[in-house]
Symmetry: C2
Subunit: 343 residues, 2 copies
């Protein structure tokens, strides 16, 4: 039976993760879960972000379920670089998978799009680009200060994530992959992405392809999100585009994500796109749907496609039954989802 590590984290993290576990237990009884205390709370208590021994232990699991880490009281970058990105890089989670659907029952912000019309997935590169941590500064705090950030892109890293995007597109109905970059300005990295994309596309004559500059894609995600099926893009562009995709499909409260190591050499990690939301933490009002959908991605990754499909369908039933404006209770939503999933 699967052994998963659970990093509930800060703020609403523990609240939504509890419901995700409830649903996992319902559809796949017997999953062994070990909790790890990481995040802002531990950092404040001990100064530790991610001890090597904990990293090694996490690495021994089949998957990681993460709630949310972070808090305004921690300096920017400490937990992001030291924990979240560290895990993505250490476990070579090069596919950052972010599906977006406009579910029936969810009031999206767009007047022009009907529920059911948006069903896209962004395959965001997870181990390279501007997230590599290559950069520095000189003459800090003087008028002569200069600061750099470097985007590092390898054929190895780019090609493998593009391959993953094409493989996913091949299993979907529309079989379309959109490459998003900024080839007209970022000519070196853009050319590498475009050439790797063309090479992989040539092996998949059954998949339709298109290219868009990131600014155009950001615009079309607002005006015509229906046009996208699979979008593949670099780490930073993917960060931005997935938040737009979430916004047009009802908000990051519903957005799931998986940081996936497709080779399975290290565990993949699943987390809602939303943060720790300290303003509503502890009140039992956070929407656990994003965490539960992330759990569905986890189940799918571990080979339990059927359990994953049941969880996803349960979310569909839950959302279709909601009345906009009626406040929700985290635990009640989890109970309902678990019920739907086994019905």
């Amino acid at each position: 039976m699967a052994r998963i590590a659970v990093v509930a984290g800060d703020g609403i993290g523990p609240e939504v993760v509890a419901e995700a576990r409830k649903v996992i237990d319902a559809v796949l009884p017997g999953v062994e879960a070990t909790e790890y205390d990481l995040g802002a709370a531990r950092y404040h208590r001990t100064g530790e972000v991610l001890p090597d021994s904990v990293l090694a232990e996490l690495g021994g699991h089949d998957a990681i379920l993460l709630g949310a880490v972070g808090d305004p009281t921690v300096p920017p970058g400490v937990l992001e670089r030291g924990l979240l990105l560290k895990l993505r890089f250490a476990f070579d989670q090069y596919v950052n998978l972010r599906p977006s659907r406009l579910w029936p029952g969810v009031p999206g912000p767009l007047a022009t799009v009907k529920p059911g019309e948006v069903d896209l997935v962004v395959v965001r590169e997870g181990t390279e680009g501007l997230y590599a941590g290559a950069g520095g500064s000189l003459h800090r705090d003087t008028p002569a200060e200069v600061a750099t950030e470097e985007s590092l892109n390898t054929r190895h890293g780019v090609e493998r994530v593009i391959r993953d995007a094409f493989a996913r597109a091949g299993r979907r109905e529309r079989r379309k992959v959109t490459l998003v970059h900024k080839t007209n300005v970022l000519t070196h990295a853009g050319s590498l992405w475009a050439r790797a994309f063309a090479a992989v596309a040539a092996e998949h004559p059954d998949v339709t392809t298109e290219y868009q500059h990131v600014d155009a894609a950001a615009m079309f995600l607002v005006t015509q999100p229906q046009r996208y099926d699979v979008v593949v893009t670099d780490n930073l562009f993917g960060d931005i585009l997935t938040d737009i995709a979430a916004a047009v499909t009802g908000g990051i409260g519903l957005a799931a994500s998986g940081c996936i190591n497709p080779a399975g050499t290290y565990p993949s990690m699943f987390e809602p796109v939303h943060g720790s939301a300290p303003d509503i933490a502890g009140k039992g009002v956070a929407d656990p749907v994003a965490a539960v959908l992330s759990a569905a991605l986890l189940l799918d990754q571990l080979g339990h496609a059927d359990a994953a499909a049941r969880v996803t369908a349960a979310v569909g039933a839950e959302l279709a039954g909601r009345t906009p404006g009626v406040p929700l209770r985290t635990a009640e939503v989890g109970d309902r989802l678990a019920g739907y999933a086994v019905a």
Copy 2:
């Protein structure tokens, strides 16, 4: 009297620029305009992108009015780096000014926002960041290829654009500046931006400030664009955010932009955000509003605030009078705008 250089460019560029000139002539008779033939057409004919002699001549004008350059037949980067960005950098146009308003009469895509509620301006840095052209590649076209793009940020460059944003905010009603960056990942550049922002903010106690990560800002531009007044951000983030802002306010067909050298040491340049739109070129159906609003920014920059205000008001009248779905004719719109502006 003002002397302006006109680069009509490719595709619909000449069509929309003709209307912008019509409107300028109406509100400020006697402006001297010299046309420069630059863009895809010249590149194909002569292989030239921007000869030094032309660059020098352009530099002798009070301002530049640009239509659109580019065409799918030109390799990515050639005209962008060789012409558009070259002008922005050579003329030290460090303020890339992009206002977005949801005009009454314009059907925006958002169900949640009413006309008149959005009135924001993005002050995008125009001479640094990932646009610096610092990058390269090794082992090209082999499995070992690596490609880099470097974001270069100086205290000099960052502080001056932030100063401009605060100065603009001080002249607006809400007096609010939002800094957008990604300080939690791009820690070096992010820290420089955040420290420069804090220093300038301290000199403007009358201006409200806030900070948002770029992914959050991309989301909030969709869900709550009303919340923004002045947004200041780096070159690449500004590229993406301004297209989202355009999308939520009716599309890039209405989006104006100015590449401004506030010191006046070189001419500023004004151009619609849209491109050359080869698919509709030559048909006389392109909307000239973005070009005309760019002309209003030009007039304002040259000290003709009154003429600029009349052009902006004319656009308001034009848009309020439109019936969604009724096709427009470029020249007729220009005629109407010129008429409204002098009425």
